[in-house]
């Protein structure tokens, strides 16, 4: 099998894996539909923005939870935003942790909120690695003439 076909197969397999394991949902496919010759890097661009935004939100959440008197509404606001952006790019696992997190914010349960932050950080890091791998494959495919 030539390099191109191998790369393409790897890309397909990895995409399928991400879907099957629930890292990504339908919305990611929707984003891929929005990519074309006029906007060939759309998915990478949006996801990059998502990464920047996410890191900011995670940092804000952590800081809000470190306060002497925790403002759970503020924490919830950050989580709500994160939930929205993760839903927009199809990051299903991350989104689901956000949903769980919001319940604990409402209950004002600090310990559970802290646990959720860690869980969120974890899921986000895994997703980031997975997507970066996918994008590397894409770059290789393009470089090979695809």
């Amino acid at each position: 099998m030539d390099v191109m076909s191998q790369l393409q197969r790897q890309w397909l397999e990895h995409s399928a894996f991400l879907r099957k394991e629930g890292y990504l949902d339908d919305q990611f496919e929707q984003l891929q539909k929005l990519q074309d010759e006029s906007s060939p890097d759309f998915v990478i661009e949006v996801v990059s923005i998502f990464f920047d935004d996410s890191e900011k939100l995670l940092s804000n959440m952590a800081r809000a939870l470190e306060q002497k008197v925790v403002d759970f509404k503020q924490v919830d606001a950050h989580v709500h935003q994160f939930k929205g952006s993760s839903a927009s790019i199809g990051a299903m696992r991350v989104k689901n942790v956000c949903i769980e997190f919001r319940n604990y914010c409402e209950a004002q349960n600090l310990e559970e909120c802290l646990r959720c932050t860690r869980k969120l950080q974890f899921e986000y890091s895994v997703l980031k690695n997975q997507l970066e791998y996918l994008f590397r494959l894409e770059q290789q495919i393009r470089a090979a003439g695809g």
Binding site: Q27, Q30, L31, K33, L34, D36, S39, F42, E45, V46, I49, F50, D53, A77, H80, Q81, K83, G84, S85, A87, S88, I89, G90
Partner: protein
């Protein structure tokens, strides 16, 4: 087409350009998208551009009103040269919510003709009702899909504004929102649900009428 153009020009200053006829003969809408999320702004912009719409995105209701020339200071001054045919706004935004923005737009004699669509990640019936009652054309569940945008575009270019009372009530709803499928009304194939003029619509809409409108939409999906 020219009738629509006249209606839309009705309240506008002279220097404002209306529809832009592209070579294919289809109208190019200019959409103002309001969302505090930078990711969502990128996505909605792409959705609209790929649907051949011109797009302006802003991050808040305040900015939207400034863009529309209705920021209180100068009054309804001219647009930046490009008329807005549709406003799509997120519901939950810090500062001015999408609902508050909707009220301001519908409360303005110059802007009230512009259709407003609310987008929200949360499927809250009371919220939906409130927005529709305030004059929103539609309430879209996020993440917004290409099919939503296409449907919207069809509706807008087909001639909204001909009658201020006509309003598409075309929310995409999830199946499990409905307890049963025994809705009183039968789905009609016509897209526009002719209702009474917007000022009396809110008071005349009983909850069963609203339910039947929603059910109609579900069947269309």
């Amino acid at each position: 087409m020219s009738i629509t153009g006249q209606v839309l020009r009705r309240n506008l200053p002279e220097n404002v350009e209306v529809f832009d006829d592209s070579p294919s003969g289809s109208l190019e809408l200019h959409v103002l998208a309001v969302d505090d999320s930078v990711v969502d702004r990128m996505v909605i912009e792409r959705l609209l551009k790929i649907s051949s719409c011109k797009v302006t995105t802003v991050e808040s209701g305040t900015r939207a009103l400034q863009y529309l020339g209705l920021d209180g200071e100068k009054g309804p001054v001219g647009f930046d040269g490009l008329k807005v045919n549709l406003i799509m706004t997120d519901y939950s935004m810090p500062g001015m919510t999408g609902y508050e923005l909707l009220k301001k737009i519908k409360g303005s004699s110059v802007l009230r003709e512009i259709p407003v669509v609310i987008m929200s990640s949360e499927n809250v019936l009371a919220r939906i009702d409130r927005c529709l009652e305030e004059g929103a054309e539609e309430f879209l569940l996020k993440p917004v899909k290409l099919s939503d945008v296409r449907r919207l575009k069809d509706f807008i270019t087909r001639g909204e504004g001909k009658d201020s009372g006509e309003r598409i009530n075309h929310k995409r709803k999830r199946e499990d929102d409905y307890a049963s499928s025994s809705s009183p009304s039968s789905p009609s194939s016509s897209v526009l649900s002719a209702s009474s003029s917007s000022s009396s619509a809110s008071s005349s809409l009983s909850s069963s009428a609203r339910l039947s409108k929603r059910a109609k939409l579900r069947n269309k999906d």
